[in-house]
């Protein structure tokens, strides 16, 4: 691969590295402190989780879900209210996730089966669920202080015996295990390909990629070990991200999302139920928005009428920054994770510097535009809009 092709393929990764270094310098190295590195993940948990669902919507043809911020608020409000009334936290969590699915089915039905344009349907949802959320809160801020609930979402993993001291060794041990697994997996998949006589990619680039990722995992878990260990929230994020990565890249059902975005008529004539694809996209999106509501409520410790405001923009922004096509049909989970982390680093970096909130919006807006301009220009020759 020549330099040009390399830059084109890894544009956003390179941008992430540049932005990361930039903010490390601007913050005088404070971005790299273990606490900030840990917060980078926790503060952006909702973006990482919702970007996965948003990708599915965008894949179907550049359709977005505007209602997710409001769903975060409403589900968070319901959870806070129920917990405040003394309901057991596990029941609350299950009920909240069921309510999220019901919201998703509601929107998915109108969009998938009645063919209401997603933009309009979810715009209505944006008002609807925000209003319901505020009504449930009774215009108040409700604190979340149920111990079990906080433990399930916002605590840290603490293995007795090894995590007693200054360093939480369990985090680093997990890091080593993950790195070892990644390297082993690359060797195994290459061997399997060789055995079946399939074509293999270049050994150098495949191993280089694995090793770089492994080193990053090790560095990051080392940072976590130096703070409070692995946050439980990381596990929730990981489960969601890996599930969606698996669905989009490996399963037939995931392939249908790309097909619908690529050419809906051809997809229909190939015997694929496109209504179901839309339905699934919006149902899963609402479920993830609901989960984000729970994560956010636990992280912040309270819910109010403005909770989740403009969250949809973060999720949508991550997808487009991460290379999802605004016309649908292309985009990967790994790509949008890079987009989400890029946004997260910018958020976190600006907060550490102490940049005024209003200017943070300006910077985020500019980054989104630049990212998409870059994407469109570099893909002009092959892109749909070209």
């Amino acid at each position: 691969m020549n330099t040009k092709a390399f830059i084109k393929k890894y544009t956003m990764v390179i941008a992430l590295v540049v932005v990361f270094i930039l903010f490390s310098v601007l913050t005088g190295g404070r971005l790299l402190l273990p606490q900030n590195m840990s917060n980078l993940l926790l503060q952006n948990a909702y973006v990482l989780v919702m970007a996965c669902g948003m990708l599915m919507c965008i894949l179907t043809g550049g359709n977005i879900d505007l209602s997710v911020g409001s769903v975060v608020c409403m589900v968070g409000a319901i959870a806070a209210q129920m917990l405040a009334n003394g309901m057991p936290s596990v029941v609350v969590i299950i009920l909240c996730l069921i309510i999220s699915i019901v919201i998703g089915v509601w929107q998915g039905f109108w969009i998938g089966h009645i063919h209401i344009p997603p933009f309009i349907c979810t715009l209505s949802g944006m008002f609807l669920f925000r209003g319901l959320g505020r009504a449930i809160l009774g215009s108040k801020t409700i604190a979340v202080n149920n111990k079990t609930f906080l433990n399930i979402f916002a605590s840290y993993i603490n293995v007795p015996g090894i995590d007693g001291g200054e360093k939480k060794w369990s985090a680093f041990i997990v890091g080593i295990a993950v790195a070892a697994f990644l390297i082993f997996n690359t060797i195994r998949s290459r061997a399997a390909k060789a055995k079946k006589g399939y074509k293999q990619g270049s050994a150098i680039s495949e191993f280089a990629k694995t090793i770089i990722i492994s080193v990053l995992v090790l560095l990051y878990t080392w940072k976590l070990a130096n703070y409070k260990g692995i946050p439980v929230m990381a596990i929730w994020i990981l489960v969601v991200v890996l599930t969606y990565a698996f669905i989009t890249s490996k399963t037939a059902f995931g392939r249908y999302f790309y097909a619908v975005g690529g050419n809906e008529k051809a997809t229909k004539l190939s015997g694929i139920d496109t209504n179901k694809v839309y339905f699934a996209a919006y149902t899963s999106m609402a479920l993830l928005a609901g989960l984000s509501g729970l994560l956010w409520a636990a992280r912040i410790g309270s819910v109010n009428g403005d909770t989740g405001n403009a969250f949809e923009m973060d999720a949508i922004g991550s997808c487009f920054i991460g290379g999802a096509s605004a016309y649908g049909g292309s985009g990967t989970v790994s790509g949008i994770m890079v987009g989400a982390i890029l946004l997260g680093v910018i958020n976190q970096g600006m907060s550490i510097i102490g940049l005024d909130n209003n200017w943070q919006y300006v910077v985020k807006g500019a980054v989104l535009l630049i990212a998409v301009i870059f994407d469109v220009v570099s893909n002009k020759k092959t892109g749909k809009a070209g």
Binding site: T251, R255, Y258, G262, K268, I272, G329, T382
Partner: protein, 511 residues
């Protein structure tokens, strides 16, 4: 006056990895109709895009001399200023705007305050009269047929003071009547001194209108043939195009028709999806045996595509009634999936719109209709998928460096092969091929015919819908003729002639 109105000298144009044009020379005399022929991907369209400035000066090497001066066009606008207008195969009209608005799009007739609509429509109607288009200038484009839309494009070219008109496959989506009209129009323009370049795959049309025929093959001009008397032998052109003798345009096959009926349709009636009163298909019955190729002839709008799609899992129409049997079993499809699982495949006439996902790879397109074949419990085995795609690529001789190539990058003939791969991969017993050779060159056509022969040799049933009668006569065992939604004739291929088919259609019109 110079001997040539246009001279293109040593034009070379490269795309990353491909030399699309290699030292091409083209000379066009004033007032002639010059045809460019060649297989798909030979470089005809690229050459015209160089001429019109779509590929700017500097991205190619060589000289364009027009009216005695060296031209350096960097945009379409530059060439239009000189009177060179190109009309692309895919019409560039906006359906929701009127004929008049389309005609002066980007070239609006302005008055003191914005657009002068009276002048716009007046001038539009003048140009429409020149091309013999009898419509109101305020009619919306979406309300007129493709044939008339093509005329609007030409009228639009006239409004730009065209001196050299380039037409890329102008008749590919027209029926025979409209095509004839268009060609006669070109001939009348020629009398008035206009020069045209026409790209076409339809050799009979070329021999009818062209004065000179330049053959392009693999990015080079092979020869320029004289056709002053309009009597050139089509085989002579084909020889130049494929670089070899094509003794028979239709591959021979053993007629091994089984007695078993593969698909039988009885009293099939389909109503229009929007105007539900209207019968698009009216009480049609037909059958196709195993090992048989059955042809469907008819004019555009005869209801053949609608018939096929309504059979194929109700993908067209409402209020569908009738009986459908596959392998003797009565079927009642609710959706396309049912039809595919029952062993039916419909290969669409519109490969770009309804058939393929152009942005996706050949491999992904190939497996799309039957993805479960390369899945374990819903998980795609990508290696297996690639291997299968590779096999079909070999079998159908699709020209591509890799099955990871996006389908949109292939030429029309190769796209058609991918579309066929997709449906062959679905392992159907009955295939309905809708215009399987539309817009593809002679060599690729021959290969598609061979694939059809292989299919029936393997005991499949093939239904072929085509507007090209010679193709039906050459390939089919039996021919059905449809007109205005009704079945009007059925004849064995050996008894059928073009005249008989036309007669059947005209006869039914009278009734």
């Amino acid at each position: 006056m110079a001997e040539y109105i246009l001279e293109m000298k040593n034009i070379t144009k490269e795309f990353p990895g491909v030399k699309a044009l290699d030292n091409v020379n083209l000379q066009v005399r004033p007032g002639e109709i010059h045809a460019l022929v060649g297989e798909n991907g030979a470089g005809k369209s690229t050459l015209m895009n160089v001429l019109s400035g779509t590929y700017a000066y500097g991205t190619y090497t060589g000289d364009i001399i027009y009216n005695g001066e060296l031209c350096k066009f960097s945009t379409l606008h530059d060439s239009e200023e000189k009177g060179i207008v190109i009309i692309h195969q895919e019409l560039a009209l906006i359906p929701e705007l009127s004929i008049g608005e389309n005609m002066f799009l980007g070239n609006e007739r302005l008055g003191k305050f914005g657009i002068d609509w009276d002048r716009t429509y007046h001038e539009a109607e003048e140009h429409m009269r020149q091309v013999g288009l009898k419509e109101e200038a305020t009619t919306l484009i979406k309300d007129i047929g493709t044939g008339k839309q093509q005329l609007v494009e030409i009228a639009k070219a006239l409004s730009k003071n065209v001196k050299l008109l380039i037409l890329d496959e102008p008749t590919s989506s027209l029926n025979e009547e409209d095509s004839k009209m268009l060609l006669d129009l070109l001939l009348s323009f020629k009398k008035e001194g206009m020069t045209s370049i026409i790209i076409s795959h339809k050799l009979n049309e070329i021999s009818y209108v062209a004065d000179k025929i330049t053959v392009v093959r693999d990015g080079s001009t092979i020869e320029t043939i004289d056709n002053e008397n309009h009597d050139i032998d089509e085989d002579r052109i084909i020889r130049g195009m494929v670089g070899r003798e094509l003794s028979d345009r239709y591959p021979s096959r053993e007629h091994n028709i089984s007695n078993t009926i593969g698909m039988e349709v009885r009293n099939w009636t389909v109503h229009h999806p929007l105007y539900t009163e209207k019968k698009v298909v009216d009480n049609v019955s037909f059958n196709v045996h195993r090992g048989e190729i059955v042809g469907f002839s008819g004019l555009q709008g005869a209801g053949r595509t609608e018939l096929a799609m309504s059979i194929f899992g109700r993908s067209y129409g409402t209020n569908i009634s009738g009986e459908l049997k596959i392998d003797g079993q009565t079927k009642n499809f609710k959706n396309v999936r049912d039809a595919i699982e029952a062993g039916l495949a419909y290969v669409t006439e519109d490969r770009k719109g309804n058939g393929l996902i152009l942005s996706e790879s050949i491999a992904k397109n190939t497996t799309m209709a039957r993805l479960e074949k390369v899945c374990n419990n819903g998980i795609i085995d990508v290696d297996k998928e690639n291997k299968e795609a590779e096999e079909y690529k070999e079998r159908l001789r699709t020209k591509t460096p890799s099955v990871q190539q996006a389908v949109g990058n292939l030429s029309g003939g190769n796209q058609q092969k991918v579309l066929l791969s997709k449906w062959m991969f679905a392992e159907p017993e009955v295939l309905i091929l809708d215009e399987p050779t539309r817009g593809i060159d002679v060599g690729a056509k021959y290969e598609i015919y061979c694939i059809m022969n292989d299919l029936v040799a393997a005991g499949k049933s093939v239904v072929m819908i085509s507007s090209e009668m010679p193709e039906l006569l050459g390939m089919c065992d039996r021919i059905y003729v449809m007109n205005e939604g009704k079945m009007v004739a059925e004849m064995p291929a050996e008894e059928a002639t073009q005249e008989k088919i036309m007669a059947a259609i005209l006869q039914s019109d009278k009734n």
